[in-house]
């Protein structure tokens, strides 16, 4: 029987005026966004803009300093460890570095969530894992060790592992990084197809404008500690906002800073080097 949340029309993931950070440093302020069922949302922004921090907030790995993160209609700040585990069973995550288990082969990596959370027989597990590997073009790599596959292949294995349980929400952290053009196109279509077929919500953190704009329903542009722009891909393309235009067209000059800003910690370090004399 589907859970109440899975039949509701409420957003699967919602952030209301959320602030996030580490230690004394606040990375993002006043972030609000929503992701609904069947929707593909692309999260874009420069390196170090806080996209992965947003993903960590969505998975409950990072607690919000302010605002409310709601996942499957539950406020993450109000959940205990057991409730958080139950929520996490309904989501899949593709990590930036893949995070494959190096002591397991490709097949066992993809089978891992099934073995932990589903009581399937060996034949059904075999069939389901091979089918999922087939969808990322790696059926015949099932027997290989993780150390024997390339970086791009490892990312596709991680993708297969993230979606094997057919989750209601899938978070992809840089799914297109390190992929050749063919794998990139197939992966983008796979993400779109999964959302359409399963009705799952997808959040794609990426730098790849062409592929993400081709599959996304909504695009959020993150920069300078906040969401600078959001809307449908066509809306952003048509935007005259200099920030959006510079990011999408890759111009070197404009409001998007290329240089890392000077901080008191840097000035102090530089002074200790004697470089100011």
């Amino acid at each position: 029987m589907p859970s109440p949340a899975s039949t509701s029309n409420n957003p699967v993931l919602r952030l209301d005026s959320v602030s996030l950070g580490y230690g004394d440093f606040t990375v993002l302020r006043d972030i609000s966004l929503e992701v609904s069922r069947g929707q593909v949302v692309a999260m874009m922004g420069g390196s170090g803009s806080g996209k992965t921090t947003l993903l960590r907030a969505a998975t409950g790995q990072l607690r919000a300093r302010g605002g409310v993160v709601t996942l499957f209609d539950q406020d993450l700040a109000q959940t205990d460890a057991r409730q958080l585990q139950a929520l996490r069973q309904r989501m899949g995550v593709l990590f930036q570095q893949g995070a494959l288990f190096t002591d397991l082969n490709v097949f066992e990596n993809v089978a891992f969530p099934l073995r932990e959370h589903a009581s399937l027989g060996q034949a059904e597990t075999l069939s389901r894992v091979l089918n999922t590997l087939d969808s990322v073009g790696l059926r015949c790599a099932a027997h290989l060790k993780v150390s024997e596959v390339s970086g791009g292949m490892a990312r596709r294995v991680a993708l297969a592992r993230a979606v094997i349980l057919e989750p209601e929400l899938v978070l992809y952290d840089e799914p297109f990084a390190g992929l050749d053009p063919i794998s990139l196109g197939i992966t983008a279509r796979l993400i779109r197809n999964l959302s359409d077929r399963l009705g799952c919500a997808s959040v794609v953190i990426t730098h790849d404008i062409a592929e993400s704009f081709a599959i996304a329903d909504q695009v959020y542009l993150v920069g300078q500690g906040c969401i600078k722009a959001h809307g449908a891909p066509a809306t952003l393309h048509a935007s005259t906002d200099p920030y959006v235009q510079q990011f999408l067209n890759g111009h070197p000059d404009g409001p998007v800073p290329f240089e890392y800003p000077s901080t008191p910690a840097f000035e102090s370090w530089l002074a200790r080097q004697g470089a100011l004399q």
């Binding site: 585990q85 996490r88 069973q89 288990f101 959370h117």
Partner: protein, 261 residues
């Protein structure tokens, strides 16, 4: 007179140690609480016994043999002064079952299996594998730490028994085959002088305690390691140092408790 800065530094150091002890205790409790997986999925533990135990077998057996050789030689030189060389078998067996078997095995275990466990857990953290498990709603303490802990605790007394058996064989080779002590005297003195409960079982208890200590330290250091190559290297070194000191300290305490009249 002690300066206020000195008192503050002392206070900070004591506070740091107490916090460290608290973190270690919480880690141990979390590990025990996650141990139900041992009964639900015993295959995970048997894999670790194989990985930890079987891969340490060669170094343990070879070390045991050489320790047995040395015990045979040194024992003979000493006993020969008093005309008691027939007691060589007893001396070798008591030395190995009571002390050298559990202690040397634990020291080798810290160097071989302990470092391997620390590096594995540390690299899993550095590679986000533990974070990935948490996000997949899988408790890494239950899935990763508990099977390794119980695998180490079970493997340790078995390895210590192998060490002692091979050591006795080494003592027999030197004493009987090379020096020429009567083989009947060698075995009969051992048989009459070694008490199963007082000597052998106390040795087994020691090796279990050492197994708990070394495996726990190895897992804790890996769990706490900074997720960098340097952090993992430092954690591995700490495992050997802390594990070895813990074994020697615990051995003194256990010996005082077990063998006092």
């Amino acid at each position: 007179m002690t300066s206020p800065k000195g008192i503050a530094a002392l206070g900070a150091a004591v506070r740091k140690r107490v916090i460290g002890l608290g973190v270690f205790t919480r880690f141990f409790i979390r590990l025990l609480a996650a141990s139900s997986i041992v009964f639900k999925r015993p295959r995970l533990v048997s894999q670790q016994i194989h990985f930890i135990g079987n891969h340490s077998l060669l170094i343990i057996a070879v070390s045991g043999l050489f320790v047995g050789f040395v015990l045979g030689l040194q024992g003979y030189y000493t006993l020969n002064r008093y005309g008691s060389e027939e007691a060589l078998g007893l001396l070798v067996a008591l030395s190995l079952t009571r002390e050298l078997g559990p202690v040397v095995t634990a020291l080798l275990f810290a160097g071989r299996a302990g470092t391997s466990l620390t590096a594995e857990i540390g690299l899993m953290r550095a590679g986000e594998q533990l974070a990935a498990m948490e996000v997949m709603a899988v408790d890494p303490a239950r899935r990763v730490l508990a099977p390794r802990f119980w695998g180490g605790v079970i493997a340790m007394p078995v390895l210590a028994a192998v060490f002692s058996m091979v050591g006795i064989l080494g003592g027999w080779i030197v004493g009987v085959l090379l020096i020429g002590i009567d083989t009947g005297a060698f075995w009969s003195q051992m048989q009459s002088g070694v008490d199963v409960w007082k000597d052998v079982m106390n040795g087994v208890i020691k090796s279990i305690v050492f197994g708990v200590a070394v495996t726990l330290i190895a897992l804790f250091e890996g769990w706490q390691a900074r997720p960098t190559p340097e952090g993992v290297a430092r954690a591995t070194t700490r495992t050997v140092v802390a594990g070895s000191l813990a074994v020697l300290g615990l051995d003194f305490l256990l010996t005082a408790l077990m063998f006092s009249n």
